[in-house]
Symmetry: D2
Subunit: 371 residues, 4 copies
Amino acid sequence: MFERLFVPDAFRDAVAEPVWLDAMLDAERALANAGSLVGVVPPADAAAIAEQCDPSLYDADVLWTEGRAAGNPVEPLVRSLRERVGGDAAPYVHLGATSQDVLDTAAMLVSRSTAGLLGGELDDLAAACAALAQEHRSTPISARTLLQRAVPSTFGAKAAGWLVAVVDAHAQLAALHYPAQLGGAAGTLAALGPRGVEMLAAYAAELELEEPVLPWHADRGPVAAIAAALGRVAAVSAKIGVDVVLLAQTEVGEVSPREGGRSTAMPHKRNPVDAVLARACARIVHANVGVLTAGEHEHERAAGAWHAEWPALSTALAYAGGSAAAARACVQDLAVHPERMRANLAADEPDVGSAEAFVDRALARYESSRE
Amino acid sequence: MFERLFVPDAFRDAVAEPVWLDAMLDAERALANAGSLVGVVPPADAAAIAEQCDPSLYDADVLWTEGRAAGNPVEPLVRSLRERVGGDAAPYVHLGATSQDVLDTAAMLVSRSTAGLLGGELDDLAAACAALAQEHRSTPISARTLLQRAVPSTFGAKAAGWLVAVVDAHAQLAALHYPAQLGGAAGTLAALGPRGVEMLAAYAAELELEEPVLPWHADRGPVAAIAAALGRVAAVSAKIGVDVVLLAQTEVGEVSPREGGRSTAMPHKRNPVDAVLARACARIVHANVGVLTAGEHEHERAAGAWHAEWPALSTALAYAGGSAAAARACVQDLAVHPERMRANLAADEPDVGSAEAFVDRALARYESSRE
Amino acid sequence: MFERLFVPDAFRDAVAEPVWLDAMLDAERALANAGSLVGVVPPADAAAIAEQCDPSLYDADVLWTEGRAAGNPVEPLVRSLRERVGGDAAPYVHLGATSQDVLDTAAMLVSRSTAGLLGGELDDLAAACAALAQEHRSTPISARTLLQRAVPSTFGAKAAGWLVAVVDAHAQLAALHYPAQLGGAAGTLAALGPRGVEMLAAYAAELELEEPVLPWHADRGPVAAIAAALGRVAAVSAKIGVDVVLLAQTEVGEVSPREGGRSTAMPHKRNPVDAVLARACARIVHANVGVLTAGEHEHERAAGAWHAEWPALSTALAYAGGSAAAARACVQDLAVHPERMRANLAADEPDVGSAEAFVDRALARYESSRE
Amino acid sequence: MFERLFVPDAFRDAVAEPVWLDAMLDAERALANAGSLVGVVPPADAAAIAEQCDPSLYDADVLWTEGRAAGNPVEPLVRSLRERVGGDAAPYVHLGATSQDVLDTAAMLVSRSTAGLLGGELDDLAAACAALAQEHRSTPISARTLLQRAVPSTFGAKAAGWLVAVVDAHAQLAALHYPAQLGGAAGTLAALGPRGVEMLAAYAAELELEEPVLPWHADRGPVAAIAAALGRVAAVSAKIGVDVVLLAQTEVGEVSPREGGRSTAMPHKRNPVDAVLARACARIVHANVGVLTAGEHEHERAAGAWHAEWPALSTALAYAGGSAAAARACVQDLAVHPERMRANLAADEPDVGSAEAFVDRALARYESSRE
């Protein structure tokens, strides 16, 4: 729903149903392999299952549509997978697991890979901010508080503020934990007998996910942490967006956005489209963050709050990508007009105080973040 | 992003990009026709434009992708439309309008038609609630406050409560206003010279939309009203959902959901999937309602808050449909267990007070709502 | 918590605990009087109860603190009232009612009176906008889209946009329904025997509140409607706020805020404090609107979602007052600089299109709204 | 506004205006002392200022009311402080600082001390959960998914789930950073000449706050992190609340809340008041978290988004306290009914799988978190 306009292809693809399907199949394969390692699934059966965990064999559209009846897409997938595997191996499909194990694990895999993409955008965005900070370390500009002209600063200091915010948001994203989910029907792994805990460890290791202390079916800490990190990425992107929109105002004119931003009514206009998109995407992210952090998950599996996470998480990931990509494009392509900054200052010898020292501190922080 | 699982096809289709495209072309056609009526577009040119306002000539995917550069899908559409029209008529394409005129008008058309669909769901949901209220007018059940057993009521009274809520939500939806949008580059219709106001009236009439007092580019009252109505539909659907989830608890067992709701771990379970989906959809609706009601729209066109409305409105409409459809299915297929209700009461001669009188009042309200 | 800074005294007072207490006592008195009229309470006992429904006899702080144990302040109030009444009349205190009847009724009374105050602010705000629209009907100004200078308009047309938004928000507020709440222990009015429905009518009439079709203990339509109206007031106030903040920018300089807005660091600054406060208050309102519209109310009384309404409604009412009052002060005290507007236009003969016609339409709408 | 009912006195006091005033005076004192250390304020003048930084000399009500004109309470405080100091020392009051420096620093101090209180509640809550987990390590109970009876688990495993969530939320809270704020008029510390950066370090050290890389006037990372942590505390408390509400249902009856929870209509009821309050408080927290995480802060000081933080942060802190305290009381006073849990199971020899192993893991995690 309008994603094509807001979200770059890479991010749309990263959270699309087929990618969720891949991740769900990764979970099923890991389950079989872990079962084989732990000794609850015969190796040959595990191999037979793994062979059928091939995304090209399934149609996400069909599974999602069928999933409406069961309330999730795992149920039709498991039926289909079991049918394909057939024979003696069939009972070992999805052994000991429940739909939520597979979907939550998939959510972690999808989040981790999308966070990787997002990290790439933030790297580029940080680099672009750092370049501006360095180049304009001493370029005088009027600081503005409550949108009123205040004392002088440097444009580099403004870019340094963006830079530190981006670096911090990136650090928060990079520090996320992605625990595997495996609890079985109701969090006890009962179907695995005494091997439950061992199996949890093996399954997490197969997927290179963190091993949780407990199944977290109804404790959504991991999801809330991802949501908070995405919210920060969006907020930082929107902050850059609002500053650029304001600096690009005709009457201020201290920066110009890239070419583009055509108007149907006024062809001469040069709208700050990337800055605008960064702000718009951030609004969508923040709305979905609320869904991901404020749910009450009843007993051992929530009757609704869990389900709402799937579209909310997909949307938050995608639009966080949209906001970061737009902010990145915005900063990369920004034309800076020092002479206009100077003219707006109306001070012959602007005292920029510690602005330059702060630029240096920001750049040092940036450098150390890359080590 | 997961819509296929939550949103019935009819609602997904109703807000899909091609439908937005249709609506945008309706706006362009209405603009040409109104121009012809008012005398600012030669009739032959208007006809030439109208002929090209055929959705089959355009590809929404392409327009939406190209729209990223302009920050909206109208700009590439107008370019393409103008090119197709060609010749002397080309300058009359989009005459006097701006992108927001077309997109906001399309938003009203898409909302109106989706609200129509939603009204159908609510009709059926109300009918199902009314049938339950009537049938179980005197079926004793324990009322429950703070989830503790309270004094007796009747199941009909509970269904009557749902019914009145649905009827009220439907009335709110049906009372919505859908104003046309036409303000030109910045709300003054300057390109239309002295015919601006006349044109606004003709354009609204062509589309059978309301004529606004002023262009509402940056006063989002119409959008906020739609959002509030969708939020009510979602809340009412979720209320039914939570009640059914609670009544269907194993220990309560006073209703059973339809067949389905299979579990991958426990094949014997009969999960209240529709009730769960109604609640999940409502969470998504409410998140997007916030985007649609709390935006600050700067000056004559917002730099971000407007853009965020497109996905938020599409999502809110679609998931409101999802929540209403799920609640409708849930109530239609509900198996009611009066003997269990009775057993849970532990009172031989339950005094249900005015419960039956309230059922009658609710049914009367329902009947009068249908006149 | 900081209300003193954001919310004028009149609005803080209007939602303070003592006012809730007054309203709760109004409900108890109405209950006794209605009982007397309907014949379930002896007139002398009703009079004895009414006599003790005197707010000066109770201490809101004490009741609210004691209310923590019961989960609401009605329980300690009823205990105290019953004790004061004593004798034969004591059993008639709170007859047939439950805590939620009294609190919901109080919520309607508090909302109605605060909406009255809010209406006064909106009247003044509309008058101030209308005065600007009239005075500056033809004052040329640059319209701005995406914060870029667009074609010319008039400052009157901008004020007319504010005006219509305010008038519409006021109309929405004025159209609110305030139903009485009376359902007894669980919505059946069982304790009143066959007189339940009659009693509901008499009780509503005593309070000059609307008689609902059913008790609405768990159907929060009336609360959601109030919330939506408050959200609109806030949005309209914030829209004025953001426009003034932007017009008052040093580089734009087309309006100046009132004296005040002192800075501790830069005594020469003249910050647009009222515009800023209008925006800040609106954010608080919108956050609380979400609480009031998205709750799931279980069965016949919600276990949490209902309770959260009390602070959320009080806060939303108070800060809606704060936002409207700030917007009103902002517009009333606005200094307009036509020469600067002209200079920013850079057009010798600005074509303002239908801007003036739109001003006339807005003023006509305003006039008709006052009839 | 209703806080007295939801928020324990300790938390109400912790965020009350007088505490903010104390913290603001701490900031002013630290500024003077740091200035003395760095050499920009004569030691005697610093001492004279510090002497007047005595909260008993000021009236928060007056300052907050006067603050309405300036848009913040620091401006009247600084005027008053400067007047009291008088003489040669007066110009050194607030040297180099701006209102936001003082308010943001105060926000960090208030947050840190309230987080300390909150940590105490979480300690007690964790201990109560751990005790339940241990005692009921092997007490069979039916797990419930989508509120349907699923396979058996142990009540200890359920309590262990709460425990790990509480421990994690506590860890998130304890890991928060509280940076000092000092940027001067617009983030350059210009009024301090070359000593700006040195001064920032000294000021932070005086307050035992972290030294930030840059002033964070318009990068609200620290506030967003606090908000996310409070949101987690609320979510965890609400999770416990919803589980207890559900387990305490009459038909389930597996736990009973403490005495209390009286009903005005049904004196025999025993409502789960603490669980209800935990859920209600959480809703208020989550609404305010949105205000604190989704603001766009323009340029070097936001015109509204910053101001909205003060009530939102105060409210979020207070109600997080309310939710945690209610959850704590709820768990501490919980009566557990193993026989009823057993009866609801309908299995003679329940296989609880790894439930006990998970209890042990949770307890180990708890123990290690206390080291």
